[in-house]
Symmetry: C2
Subunit: 534 residues, 2 copies
């Protein structure tokens, strides 16, 4: 299975969707072969602050696109002495590092315009929304440029996991599923060890330590069994919770039966939380991912010309000339430079007139983009905290919305609250993309109310982003396969005359800002080497 | 094993210490029997806002101690119409809900006075420091009284686990240990299942699901083995991390050998993170636990007389008279009320003249207090973030300091940083308690520098709290055994004439603020029932 799925894995549900589809069509075995392949390549090779030494020899660079890849390039090249200009289609710096909050207005392909109605302080990040500890490049720029980070609550033991075909459709608490899975796995393995079934694989000394470890890991009882009692309830929780005074004594809870747990498939949620890009500590910017764009704007916004739609990119042996249209005035203009770094998303770039070699041209057309859709819902109150005792984290479901993510900020706030009611891709992404914004919200409300019945009484308004309809990307992020990587990845990244591509699509991090940043650094480093050599 | 250990478990290393001691003296089997017993009783039975209905019939209540138990009692009883006065020994409300920050001055038994030198924004919480999601009572008051909560980073996959006798004393990353443990457990169990060793315990249908689940959970390869490769590195991390452009391709890392992992004992850190009171989401107050005391002061501080040292508690059939001394003026005074709720820690209370029955008097003397010690260290910079890429979370070690906890706030801040360099109990707690404050800091620096060599160059100053030397508690929290629970717990909680005890010691939550709060609510509810009945 390809590392392209890694990319969507990074963004959560699109991977799940895809796995579910593989599972349905090819069976469980294929699904796990896919999962194994997906667990690739998620850390940064950022090596610390960029140093482009030796001067720029008067060279100029035209950068297309003011997302994190373009802005990283602009900032570092200008610091190194290059003459830099950035052309940006939007009236905003940051690209997909974006936040929907009250007043945000945007128009999708087809003409539907949404104006987000969220109350002050409420938001969703329709694009990237989390920053794992190992995204060293992005964290470096956040610290350097003044983006305050706070923890993103990736795992919440009290959130739900939900399979419409298990437990009569009733959502289960993650803590029940994980504690019981760990308990039964430990009990079964200890049974095998004690029966001698693993005598050829494990020495006697190691077997003793393994048994010790399993008792603790699985919360087994004195007979190495996972059963109702204080050890198991010390993981999964109690029927009657302990307290103080004369009403203090707790009562243990019943584990889920082994067979019911296995057949529910809800154990899938455990592995998802363990993957490299979901490991604690994970961050989000205080105030939304748009803060990343704002920080780059403070640092290098003076280099950017906004509202500039690129229509042609032409090079010869002396330089590059880009034709663009001012989207406010309609005026058509040209910009020229010695080199061009192009970060325009591939579905857009494929439509722009550009004289590059056949290999790069083929690569640009080889990478389909994810169909991810996110829908934010505002409710009159944070019922998930007040009623369900869920503070941040993610509920997973086999319904088409795939997940519900609760805000990782302003815990306990009174007044309206916003959750992410849907983050999906694959077939469900197509379905929602084909719907109107109003239909999307109605569908997501209907799905989510099977988990949170409070939805119907508490709903206020919703906003959605279906990335295939966003005119400046036409998709959420590039999805590679093993085959397209082998055929096109190097061609996409290699310098073509005086033109180089950068962005998450030119990385092993598709869909992550870290991909854009490490791609930009790799690109400007190679560009600088060429200038120095020349 | 007793649930008293549950209590210290709640506070982290004291449990580990105790387990380690049990392990050393009684062997591994006893240790795991102890662990099983410890996994008890950690949730709240708080049922929502307290309602004491029907009026107070003019009754008055004298409350001794202005910690969370006393203040909860004062707030709720005064709202219900009772005449309430609180006597507090300290010049501060909040008791052990305390924070050391720049300028905090305190004198311990023996006369040593420390003045904390931390830079603005840096602090440690010497007493309670975390609030699990299921501490419903405390979270209720935080939300109600305006204490802002932020996540406490209980688990950080990139923090260290350290055994001086394994890996040549070199600390290991938690992610390596956990990923490899999960991988080997999954590989071994799948091997047993495929060999048919569990055919009597698991149906064929369930075995198929189990194998599927193990591949995902363990990050096994296509042959159901846990080996070096992209699946395992997608959990534990890479030798060369992925990136962008032409330098993007990652290289996988080598798992720890099974036998080395087993014999290291470092797998113990996994179970500790899974217990009920360490589950995500866990909070801390923004600005330190002292904010809880400040919030109660805003709500009910007008009821409190500070600097009042209780010397005698006497009751007859008409009421209670308490003698106390103003610690500033030396003046001796009396306060009287119909009832008394006493939250004074038991080691102090045992020394106060008090006419209660023999059963309560015995109970007061039956509960020893934990020897916990915490030491905060300030360094010139946050090297654990900048060098080690550890953002919050806890490193565990078999050295006497037991753990190092990195701050869960102000991630990425420049300038001096403070970490908790030691949180220990048991024998190590006694050793540090017997040391001077200067010696404590020197020892903790020496231990911690085996994990973070940066300690020596970056150290600025340190502050310690050895709870057995704190004159207003003489210990950190009450530690019960099964036997003392059976003999004394009910007697401690039952009303004795007109006197009732409340506090974490009168709960199944020793060492947690939630114990004090649920104990207070149980107590005032029973008091109110008596007043209504009378």
């Amino acid at each position: 299975m390809s590392d392209s799925i890694v990319d969507s894995a990074g963004q959560g549900m699109s991977k799940r969707e895809l796995l579910a589809m593989i599972g349905k069509t090819a069976g469980a075995s294929a699904m796990y072969m896919a999962m194994a392949g997906m667990e690739q390549a998620q850390a940064s090779n950022f090596k610390g602050p960029v140093k482009l030494e030796g001067g720029a020899k008067g060279a100029s660079v035209l950068i297309l696109g003011a997302g994190v890849a373009g802005m990283t390039s602009a900032l570092e090249l200008s610091k190194a002495g290059y003459k830099v200009q950035v052309l940006e289609y939007q009236d905003r710096i940051g690209g997909r590092s974006w936040t929907l909050s009250g007043g945000t207005t945007y128009t999708e392909l087809g003409g539907a315009t949404q104006t987000c109605q969220f109350a002050p302080g409420n938001y969703i990040n329709p694009g990237p929304w989390r920053i794992p500890w190992h995204h060293h490049g992005l964290i470096h720029y956040c610290h350097e440029l003044g983006v305050e980070l706070e923890p993103f609550m990736q795992v919440n033991y009290n959130a739900y996991v939900h399979n419409t075909k298990a437990f009569g459709g009733k959502p289960q608490r993650f803590r029940h599923v994980q504690a019981d899975y760990f308990g039964y796995v430990s009990e079964l393995l200890s049974k095998s060890v004690k029966q001698g079934a693993l005598n050829d694989a494990v020495t006697k000394e190691d077997a003793e330590m393994l048994l010790e470890s399993l008792r603790g890991f699985g919360a087994l009882d004195r007979n190495m069994r996972y059963v109702k009692g204080m050890p198991s309830s010390g993981r999964r929780g109690y029927d009657k919770e302990p307290g103080g005074g004369l009403s203090a004594v707790p009562e243990p809870s019943d584990p889920i039966a082994f067979s019911e747990l296995m057949q529910s498939g809800l154990w899938r949620s455990i592995a998802g939380n363990l993957q490299w890009d979901h490991e604690f500590t994970i961050f989000q910017p205080v105030g939304g991912m748009i803060q990343v764009g704002k920080a780059f704007e403070r640092a290098a916004g003076h280099l950017v010309r906004k509202n500039s739609k690129v229509t042609s990119i032409q090079q010869n042996e002396k330089g590059v000339v880009v034709t663009y249209k001012d989207t406010k005035t309609g005026e058509v203009m040209k910009a020229a430079a010695d080199y061009c770094i192009c970060t325009i998303p591939l579905p857009i770039l494929a439509q722009i007139d550009m004289n590059v070699g056949g290999e790069l041209a083929s690569a640009i057309r080889a990478v389909p983009y994810s169909t991810s859709v996110k829908v934010g819902l505002e409710f009159k109150r944070r019922f998930w905290e007040q009623d369900d005792k869920i503070y941040g984290g993610i509920t997973y479901t086999d319904l088409p919305n795939s997940q519900i993510s609760y805000p990782s900020s302003r815990y306990g706030a009174k007044g309206p609250g916003v959750l992410l009611g849907c983050y999906t891709g694959g077939a469900a992404g197509y379905e929602l993309t084909a719907s109107t914004p109003e239909e999307r919200v109605a569908k997501v409300l209907e799905w989510g109310s099977q988990i949170h019945p409070q939805y119907k009484d508490e709903f206020m308004n919703g906003s959605s982003v279906a990335w295939h309809r966003i005119p400046w990307t036409l998709g959420c992020f590039g999805t590679w396969t093993e085959q397209t990587r082998a055929d096109h990845y190097k061609n996409l990244c290699q310098m073509d005359g005086r033109i180089m591509l950068a962005g998450e699509h030119a990385s092993y991090y598709g869909g992550w800002q870290e991909g854009g940043i490490t791609s930009a650094i790799d690109t400007i480093t190679r560009l600088h080497q060429r200038v120095m050599a020349g």
